[in-house]
């Protein structure tokens, strides 16, 4: 199943943002926009919802904290209680540093791993770049073309009138 796209190439981030606004207002659905860096304000104009990764981080941290406390309390309080330095078996102030570290560790890793999974990032030789200049100095707006439905000329005009310096076609083999 091959997908066809029209790519509008832009070279200025502000022109790009205005273009996105206008093109979406005209009713055209934008498949994606590729840029060499995160463009400030692009989330709002593209209607990208806020990521829920912070929630993952929170629960990861909560797990880390609980695990760390449970581990220390069980090991030094129940399994083999020992008096060390005159401290009580369950010495909460002593247990705080390790608890803190495991909280941060679990929070960070749970979020990062989730990030890789939902963004489909993994070490792979396959490269799905639409236009190689999107990692260099151009902003690439991809609009999906539906055979027989999309008016190519109108689309071309729409892109160029909103500041695209180039309009190309691309076919992606799935």
């Amino acid at each position: 199943m091959n997908k066809k796209f029209v790519l509008g190439i832009y070279d200025d981030e502000d022109v790009l943002l205005t273009a996105i606004e206008n093109i979406r207002a005209a009713g055209t659905k934008i498949y994606d926009v590729f840029s060499p860096y995160p463009v400030h304000g692009i989330d709002d104009v593209l209607g990208i919802k806020r990521s829920r990764l912070p929630i993952v981080a929170f629960f990861g941290g909560l797990f880390g904290m609980s695990f760390a406390l449970w581990m220390q309390i069980w090991m030094l309080g129940f399994d083999w209680p020992m008096i060390i330095g005159g401290k009580p078996h369950i010495a909460i102030p002593s247990f705080i540093p390790v608890t803190f570290e495991l909280t941060v560790l679990c929070s960070a890793f749970s979020m990062v791993i989730t990030f890789f999974i939902v963004s489909r990032l993994k070490p792979s030789l396959k490269v799905n770049v639409f236009d190689k200049r999107s990692t260099d100095d151009k902003f690439v707006m991809a609009i999906e073309v539906k055979d027989g439905v999309t008016n190519m000329d109108a689309l071309n005009d729409l892109l160029r009138s909103n500041g695209a310096i180039e309009v190309n076609e691309k076919e992606v083999v799935k």
Partner: protein, 475 residues
């Protein structure tokens, strides 16, 4: 629409375009290794060889190869451990804390600084492992079920807290650094011509395409990681300081250690970043990205943290007197006038006096002065740890236990060796990885560069200008 006040100095000079940034940074990665780099690597490898030999001597013959004795049980080993960990903290601070404070000048130095962190922590970790005596049992520090009962680790010990702190710090820093590298690996991948390079950077870039949704998540992850890394970096050096502060030894047991050690770590870390960046920017022709503004900003951080360290010294000294505790009072008198007085005064000169020179604008903006001072700061911070550890141990409560310490050639060899290890890793990093975060610098280009870009004409004109001004930029 963001507004940038015209009174702010540009952070990218030379009229660079996005493409210029790609070219200028990728050039070093894509080009064949040059003679200067090879010569530097050769020197570093000599250092690495010294390291390997010294480690062999330590492991084969034991800790007796070092100058330690019953009274002074820690000396160069732990001094070096704290020194390296401290240096590592600047990377995280630049990446994480300066990100939270939205300091745009961090973008051209954060990658190299983070790399420095990773390598510094590797060097640091050598010491706790080597000083164990039986490093092949190092896994005993982990709370793993075992056949001794299970005999669990001592969660009451700061040395164990260190295990968790340093491991967490290393892995989170590595992850933070790596995530930042992914978009730049994609840039190199999309330019790569050789088959090995194309494959290698394709794998490293994890299929990154730069889609808006991916960037959105990426930014969220960066911010949260920064928010996690900030308390993490504070906690790591706090826990390191607790190796000393939880004891009852005069000169060690003092409540100010946690934040004072953190301030000292940032102080030495920034000095090391300056040392490295002043060389890197010259050798790789990156003066338009790591400008005098960047150097000056880092120098201001050095004044700030150096002054905090100075205030901490004064506070310790005053409270030692104020407390009326004779042992504490003696500890400080001994530091200044006892047999290690030369270490103490080196520390004071390097740490308290030299950074204050940065109050003078001309010195702050002089690359030569900055380079020299940055090295003195690191020398001073080495002496600070030495003074804290050795002078407090060699004469504590019981005069009959008083002893002297002198390093053996192996003590020195391990230390010099870790410097070799560090530079080997750093030079390899410079060759194969982009030393500047291209994506982040591109993100600030429009707001913070010299020439405002308005489409084609300016771009072409600016590119020409870019090629010329590279060589002219000499300060």
């Amino acid at each position: 629409m963001q507004h940038v006040s015209p009174i702010r100095e540009p952070l990218v000079t030379g009229g660079k375009t996005y493409h210029d940034i790609t070219e200028d940074v990728c050039r070093q990665v894509e080009a064949k290794p040059n003679a200067r780099w090879a010569a530097a690597l050769a020197v570093a490898l000599v250092g690495l060889a010294i390291f390997i030999y010294s480690v062999y001597r330590t492991l084969w013959f034991g800790i007796g190869e070092w100058g330690l004795n019953k009274t002074v049980g820690w000396a160069w080993d732990i001094t070096n451990f704290v020194w390296w960990v401290g240096i590592g903290h600047a990377g995280t601070l630049i990446s994480a804390i300066l990100l939270l404070f939205r300091q745009k000048w961090r973008t051209s130095i954060n990658r190299a600084a983070e790399a420095m962190t990773i390598f510094a922590v590797i060097c640091a970790a050598m010491f706790p492992v080597l000083h164990m005596g039986r490093p092949w049992l190092a896994y005993w520090v982990l709370p793993l079920p075992n056949t001794f009962g299970s005999l669990w680790v001592n969660f009451n010990s700061p040395l164990l807290w260190d295990v968790f702190a340093i491991s967490t710090y290393f892995s989170v820093s590595l992850v933070f650094w790596y995530i930042g590298l992914v978009p730049d690996f994609a840039t190199i991948r999309d330019r790569a011509t050789g088959p090995i390079a194309r494959r290698a950077y394709a794998v490293l870039s994890m299929g990154w395409t730069g889609s808006a949704k991916a960037w959105s998540r990426y930014e969220t992850v960066s911010l949260i990681l920064a928010g996690l890394a900030t308390p993490l970096v504070l906690s790591v050096h706090t826990i390191v300081s607790m190796d000393f502060a939880t004891s009852v030894i005069p000169g060690w047991h003092t409540t100010i250690f946690p934040p004072y050690f953190v301030a000292g770590a940032i102080f030495s870390g920034f000095a090391m970043v300056l040392t490295l960046m002043i060389i890197t920017r010259k050798v790789f022709f990156l003066e338009n990205y790591i400008t005098l503004e960047h150097v000056e900003s880092m120098n201001k951080v050095i004044i700030l943290t150096g002054s905090i360290v100075g205030i901490a010294y004064t506070t310790e000294f005053f409270i030692a007197w104020y407390s009326g505790v004779e042992y504490e009072q003696y500890a400080f008198i001994n530091r200044a006038f006892g047999p290690y007085w030369w270490a103490y005064w080196s520390m004071m000169t390097c740490n308290v006096i030299t950074p204050q020179l940065f109050w003078i604008r001309k010195i702050r903006r002089s690359l030569t002065a900055t380079f020299i001072i940055s090295i003195f700061v690191n020398i001073g911070m080495w002496f600070e740890r030495f003074v804290i550890i050795v002078t407090s141990l060699h004469r504590d409560y019981l005069p009959s236990s008083w002893a002297m310490f002198s390093p053996t050639i192996i003590d020195i060899g391990v230390y010099v060796g870790t410097i070799g290890l560090f530079f080997t890793l750093f030079l390899l990093f410079c060759k194969f990885f982009p030393v500047i975060n291209m994506a982040e610098v591109k993100a600030i280009l429009k707001s913070s560069s010299e020439v405002k870009h308005h489409g084609h004409a300016a771009t072409m004109h600016a590119t020409e200008k870019g090629l010329n001004t590279n060589r002219h930029h000499n300060e």
